[in-house]
């Protein structure tokens, strides 16, 4: 087994503009993903929008995210799976894969013994 982190990137403005109904549909899709992944999920969080971030670099504390881009990190899951194909199969269930303005980046996690 190996660990992977799924980074969910997208246009934060479009996320914020979701109606209540769209929001509920998205939550339901995530619940479906979590049910399918089961105990392969070892972590995950939805992040508050990037303007709420604080970045430290050297002695400077600044307001906002490290990368000031339109597409921002919105959340992540950590998974444990046998191989990349298993992760790809599960990740396709995430609504952000199909929304057009967002995408899911899969990163293998360094295995510290």
């Amino acid at each position: 087994m190996a660990k992977y982190t799924l980074l969910i990137y997208g246009d934060a403005a479009q996320w914020e503009a979701l109606s209540d109904e769209e929001r509920r549909a998205k939550d339901a899709a995530h619940a479906e993903f979590r049910a399918a992944a089961g105990d392969r999920i070892i972590g995950g969080q939805e992040l508050e929008p990037a303007p709420n971030a604080t970045t430290l670099r050297g002695f400077v504390t600044s307001d906002g995210p490290f990368l000031e881009t339109k597409e921002a990190l919105g959340g992540f899951y950590s998974l444990e799976a046998a191989d990349l194909d298993e992760v790809l199969g599960l990740a396709k269930l995430l609504p952000e894969v199909h929304d057009g303005h967002s995408a899911v980046e899969i990163r293998p996690v360094v295995d510290h013994p």
């Binding site: 190996a2 046998a82 191989d83 990349l84 194909d85 790809l88 293998p108 013994p113």
Partner: protein, 401 residues
Amino acid sequence: MTAGIVAAVAEAHRRDWAQVLATTARVTRDLELAEECTQDAYAQALVVWARDGVPARPGAWLTRVARNRALDEVRREAAFRRRLPLLVTSPDSPGDDRLRLIFTCCHPALSRESQVALTARLVCGLSTYEVARAFLLSEPTMAARLTRAKKKIATARIPYRTPDPDEMEERLDPVLEVVHLLFTTGHTAPTGPALIRSDLTAGAIQLARTLHLLMPRSAAVTALLALLLVTDARSAARVTPAGALVLLPDQDRSRWDRALIAEGTALLTDALRRRPPTRFAVEAAIAAVHAEAPSWEQTDWTEIVGLYGVLLRLTGDSPVVALNRAVAIGFRDGPQAGLDALLPLAAEPALATYAYLSASRADFLRRLGRRTEAAAAYDEALTLTGNEVEHAFLTARRNSL
């Protein structure tokens, strides 16, 4: 060392390389090491076969030698290997090792450049130098690309397995694209003294044959093999003995390989029975129309224009297909009609540096007797091609104006 032994090893390289490497990779669980062991087995074959004679089953001999060396290495480096990311294999999964290797090299998580490089090196058995030359890169750059790709396979754990039936169609697409790209790269080498790199075309055909053998019911695979065979059948007539380019209208059709054409056409008929036709099936049909025409003048241009129309839809209006269709219109309706059909393509950014657009325009202008404009178009084409044989052809055409 006799020429016979060298030829036997070369033949075994062509026929068995993928099998030997693919089987060895299951032992090493490391593509780099499998590559080394396979290479080493072929080097040993040169010496041992010269001494003891060519074994009855060269492929089995090579696999045994490569596997034994792999087992030694794995045992010796067990402690070191525990810290390495190893290829994810499932020992009980069914299927052919060669297919496993092909699908791993063409996994969608790898870039197309990596897929092509890995397939040429690991599946077709070309040396890194040969792969680099085919894709206009220096050998160290290509070596770095191959190393990076193999590292990603291990680190991201791209599994060494054949896709499940329900994902087969999606996973087959990049495989067919890669085989086709290897063939076209060899069919008109982007650079160098020779028009055709037969190591690439032969490797691609061998690979398509293997895929067809292992997946006989796939219409997409059948169509691709048909396309490669019918196209390759013309290769002897594409260059003069001195190495000069001969275009389709001027080719000596008696030099076309009729056996290959017959084999390709039969495969195509089989593939077309299963609908809808794939892009490669339509391309094969176009090649077959040419192959069946007794002469250039008697080519069924109406059929060809129609087939390019189908292809245009299948490829989502590919500019290169649009160019080919415009050229076919020029042969059906005359050079002025061809020139008119090319006109809207001049603004196409994807064709801005495409030598064939300038060359086609030059040819229509030449046939219309508009010499000054034709010369300018030939000059444009000459700056855009890196193949020396094509260069010589275009220069000769320009000088004949």
